[in-house]
Subunit: 144 residues, 2 copies
DNA sequence: ATAATAAAGGATAAATTTGTCCGAATATAA
DNA sequence: TTATATTCGGACAAATTTATCCTTTATTAT
């Protein structure tokens, strides 16, 4: 569904959100350890998220990554996915056709439209605040 | 959503289905031309589909690929996807976690479950016979 | 039988994605 | 001001996916 980079990006964002809720800034090292991702690769992804204003980064000692508390419920999964994987989920054809559209549909166009719409709705209605709360009470997990 | 190989596999299967409906066997060359796919790569994919008894292949002059007419409505998209991409769509975690389950869920587990179930339902209820009929009446397309 | 045709299969190459390494830039604290 | 901690950014490496090429095998028609 998503690229590995996007999976790491979502997991990292959820972890950062949980810590930001407690006003804690977290380092790359922490993040990679907590979500079980390769550190250097994760760094690249965090850079992308930072450039897209999804997370904030601070250099130097006691630096790290964080998300403004008031943004926590505003950041949706869709923002992260768009920043990392682009809009392929939004506009791509299920069979990889470039010209697939309502006017010139592929054979599975209508079936995929239903799926795509439910994916988009889900991505746009799920925010980091909600996702991080399950971590806090131990009902959800980010590693393994 | 699917690998390129799987996309080509589905497109090829739909084309073969359409021709098989007219009792016509089709060659690799034909298929690649009609679905706009790289020939040699398509050959590999057709081999896989053939080994999985999704399509039949015949060597030699006037050989090619076909699907038994009585199988046309029995072959579902799910069969093709499973043969080429495996069951990652069926069992994989949306965030790439190995151990994600009802007992140990990732933060988006429930949201993804809904999506996954609708994908599975769609794949298991869509057959080649239906998909190829749109090609015949010119309402759907397999190229570009 | 022989030649021609078409898929099968193995080896290899190109492209993309995933992942690593290291020096530069920046901020903090002593 | 200096040493240290941390992200940034570019270059590189490994792994995977996509794609090609060429020889072998099977089948058909002559």
């Amino acid at each position: 569904m998503f690229s590995k980079a996007c999976e790491y990006g979502i997991r990292a964002s959820i972890y950062i959100a949980g810590q930001s809720h407690k006003d804690k800034r977290v380092s790359l090292k922490d993040i990679a350890k907590e979500i079980g991702s390769p550190e250097a690769f994760t760094a690249k992804i965090l850079q992308q998220l930072s450039k897209n204003n999804i997370i904030d980064s601070v250099k130097g000692p006691s630096g790290g990554f964080q998300i403004e508390q008031k943004k926590l419920h505003k950041v949706k999964l869709s923002h992260i996915v768009l920043a990392i994987d682009g809009d392929s989920i939004y506009k791509g054809c299920g069979l990889g056709l470039k010209e697939c559209s309502e006017k010139v549909p592929c054979p599975v166009h209508n079936q995929f439209k239903v799926i795509r719409n439910s994916i988009i709705t889900m991505l746009e209605s799920t925010n980091l605040s909600d996702l991080s709360s399950g971590l806090k009470d131990g009902s959800t997990f980010l590693k393994m």
